[in-house]
């Protein structure tokens, strides 16, 4: 009997458990509306390192080692680490993995990496390939800006629809046993491209992918938007969130408006914090999922959540060659009947 249902969805019968989650953010994120939900708030976004890249690496290393400690496990208890980030050659993840004695598969899904890593990790638990697996990702405002856009020193103006890359990292540790929030479905996305080519318009570039994955998740599972307490896209920002909700209703008749939030819109007070359309980056959905959402699931506020991290598969080389920005989104549903203090 296949665990595949519909066209793009895996149904997890053994319901892999999220034993622990850990989040770390920079000072700006730590001054935002979700500040009470993050495990660690850095006072300095260099985290005592010599470069922003090394700071980012230290953050993802930090959440991985902390989530292992929280779960009362050892590094050698972890069978797989699935991780990726925004930097060329996912160097934050690679260099963090270098310090860890954990079998490692590197991923690249841009800002969709949290649910990409979570979906694959859940399959390794369900398939009995692992007793414990970690899904992790990170991003850093300053390492991203200079790689994808302009060096900060250039002082370029930000457009109203532009987003602010979150400085943060998140990790979830999955296992087979215990009374924890569990993963019930994973819907894997396809790459969608509607011709957006400006690196300031990532929400617009990713929205069609979010719509496609959400639509397919509902079709494959037979669920409706109201079956969820919360549907959280990754980092579409204010602009992308509106497009997603409208397109999904108009094209496919699914109205998610009552249960819908976007992590990128939620993480900052966009007006006061001057982040325009909101947060972005792998770290955005990672810290909101591992911080705000996971903790509210434990508290019983949310019982059924659909996480939909969204990635803009942007490449400066491709953009210089006239290419548009393809998007992708992966959905993972998390459920928990209990309440934990």
């Amino acid at each position: 009997m296949s665990k595949r249902i519909g066209i793009q969805t895996v149904k997890f019968e053994t319901k892999p458990k999220i034993i622990a989650a850990e989040s770390i953010v920079g000072p700006k994120e730590g001054a935002g509306p979700l500040k009470d939900y993050f495990d660690i708030i850095l006072s300095d976004d260099l985290n005592g390192k010599e470069s922003f890249e090394k700071a980012e690496c230290s953050m993802i290393y930090n959440v991985i080692t902390e989530v292992i400690r929280k779960a009362k496990l050892k590094e050698t208890d972890i069978d797989f680490l699935f991780a990726g980030d925004l930097l060329n050659q996912i160097s934050s993840s690679n260099f963090a993995a270098r310090e860890l004695e954990i079998p490692f598969y590197g991923l690249y899904g841009a800002c969709s990496t949290m649910t990409e890593s979570l979906g694959i990790a859940a399959m390794t638990i369900e398939g009995e390939f692992a007793d414990h697996a970690i899904a992790a990702t990170s991003s850093h405002f300053s390492s991203s800006e200079r790689q994808f856009r302009f060096p900060l020193e250039f002082g370029s103006q930000r457009k109203p629809n532009s987003q602010w890359t979150v400085t943060g990292a998140g990790a979830m540790l999955l296992g087979r046993k215990g009374d924890h929030p569990c993963i019930t479905y994973a819907t894997t996305g396809k790459v969608k491209d509607y011709g957006i080519s400006s690196p300031d318009s990532m929400g617009e570039a990713m929205a069609p992918a979010a719509v496609d994955t959400l639509k397919q998740h509902f079709k494959d599972t037979g669920r409706k938007p109201t079956d969820y307490d919360l549907i959280a896209t990754g980092d579409l920002g204010k602009v992308g969130r509106q497009i997603t909700a409208e397109l999904l209703k108009k094209e496919y008749g699914y109205d998610i408006s009552n249960v819908y939030m976007d992590c990128g819109e939620k993480i900052f007070d966009c007006e006061k914090q001057n982040t325009n359309s909101g947060g972005s980056g792998c770290g955005c959905s990672a810290v909101v999922d591992c911080g705000y959402i996971y903790k509210n699931i434990l508290k019983g506020k949310y019982k059924k959540v659909l996480l939909v991290s969204t990635g803009a598969l942007m490449s400066t080389t491709a953009t210089l060659q006239g290419e548009s920005i393809p998007g992708i989104a992966h959905a993972v549903s998390i459920e928990f009947g209990g309440v934990k203090k």
Copy 2:
């Protein structure tokens, strides 16, 4: 009952089948000693495109669509595509996936991507998450040189231990049924770093990772080197191959010399073709595995093969910040009792 054995290895009980494999190479690879084993040899390494990046993308797209055709399947029969490449943001894979209606997970394992994608794809088949999955990767000499080293126009001299990035792409299509070569074990690597920092010394950077994964594969499975007809590392080149064989014997007592080849050394006539230590790049182990090795398995020449693609997790940003080059290697064993014409 867990399918995990030892510390880093998954044992596949249902033995996922490699239904078909496809390879494409550039003119230089097509003039080398393995030329008779590749499915497509390009006469022009631009493949009719405007840039080397677009040419690389067309190559990986080509092997994916061709391997589906060979297996007499349709795009919509494929449940997962696992792919990655060397370009920043794995843009070849992302842009190829954009043209395909296949749920897609992007990977980054540098030149270890062939066995990374194969190992994960095999788990999705064994775990009944997919009926069919594709593992694919690519690299291109000219897109890699300018990204990782110097623009070709610069005309920099190549060192004796330097390697030549293979222009090529390979794909394997996995399924559950039929009389085909099957995957029996996957040993996932850990990141290893012995302090090599020159981008001309990739074989040396990757050798410790290859040694570590090979040692662990033998320990976890209880197999000996002589249980295999062929052990093929990915792209260590002449220099890295010698280090690997020597270290493995000296440190752990495993003598693989009688069954050992390196895809990077084998793909070129290094002296005549002026490729110094040999080939490298994701495409190197991909085309040798999908071309030479897979076809010789079908012919009955090899009955038990261990593929060990090796990745140098090199980042120019990290190198400029004084970092060394970490390496990783993943092993996948393929077995076939039959003979196919």
